[in-house]
């Protein structure tokens, strides 16, 4: 039940967005997903950002450290490497789906032409799902250092 004037801008209508009522199960599920994935990302994304910037520091990032955390392809992985891969795996899946659904909400507000909206979302979904797949493959396979120089693998 909304008391807001339908001619108000989308901004006015969207400042508070209550849980979608009625039988639209997909929108209800997505509404809940945005909130709970957001709360999980609060810890995952902020801890990752803080780790890479405050603890390591951008200017001290090295590929060797990534090899230590992720492990090499073809070698058996250690407990700590398993932890890092699961951590990044959960983060990449939640962040990408959260971002894709967020993008859908934004596109829905601005792209009023249905054909334009559908074409845009199809392209965005293909791109995002392709990159997510790459990210997950990297975490399953591990790092390939076979062609690397000694300076990187040490």
């Amino acid at each position: 039940m909304t008391t807001l004037n339908a001619s108000a801008s989308p901004a006015a209508r969207r400042t508070v967005r209550p849980i979608p009522q009625g039988r639209n199960r997909f929108e209800r599920a997505m509404w809940l997903f945005m909130r709970f994935s957001g709360l999980a990302l609060l810890f995952l994304a902020l801890s990752h950002f803080g780790f890479q910037h405050i603890i390591v520091g951008t200017h001290r990032l090295t590929s060797e450290d990534t090899i230590v955390r992720w492990g090499l392809a073809g070698e058996s992985i250690t407990i700590s490497q398993l932890f890092w891969r699961l951590y990044y795996g959960v983060m990449v899946l939640l962040a990408m789906l959260h971002g894709l659904n967020g993008l859908r909400q934004v596109a829905y507000d601005y792209l009023k032409n249905k054909t334009v909206y559908n074409a845009f979302m199809a392209a965005a979904a293909v791109l995002i799902l392709a990159v997510t797949t790459m990210g997950v493959i990297a975490l399953i396979v591990g790092v390939n250092a076979s062609g690397a120089t000694a300076a990187i693998t040490r």
């Binding site: 901004a11 006015a12 400042t15 902020l46 990032l61 971002g99 507000d109």
Partner: protein
């Protein structure tokens, strides 16, 4: 296209209170972080193809342009995370709705408390890397 322009104009000129600016900033920061995330995961996942590509991309993270851009990323990520948490808590607990003003102020204070030291530490790290005694090594 004209619908797009008029909606964007309406969003920019709508005179709501803080809530409207928070909403707009939430949207812009979410899109910005998503753009970074797509490029970032495409780059970091290249490690499974060849660590040398990954290594070359990591070196790009140490250039002046990236060092400036990542300050905006830090603010955007922290703002979106804290404000998103405010939204989620308020909407999952409607009994807190009388306290919206307090929640808004609290969120702004927490963003400043988290973002200011983060940005200062990052900026000092970059200044040291580019101009400090070990610069160029």
């Amino acid at each position: 296209m004209s619908a797009l322009i008029s909606t964007v104009r309406a969003s920019l000129s709508y005179r709501g209170r803080e809530g409207h600016w928070l909403w707009l900033l939430h949207r812009v920061s979410g899109l910005g972080v998503l753009l970074f995330l797509i490029l970032h995961v495409a780059g970091m996942s290249s490690a499974f193809i060849s660590i040398e590509i990954h290594d070359r991309l990591l070196e790009m993270y140490k250039t002046p342009l990236f060092s400036i851009g990542e300050l905006a990323l830090a603010f955007g990520l922290i703002f979106h995370a804290v404000n998103g948490t405010r939204i989620a808590i308020l909407e999952l607990k409607p009994e807190l709705w009388q306290k919206q003003q307090l929640a808004t102020r609290l969120a702004i204070i927490i963003v400043v408390l988290l973002a200011a030291p983060t940005i200062i530490i990052m900026a000092l790290g970059s200044i040291n890397a580019f101009f400090g005694p070990a610069a160029g090594h």
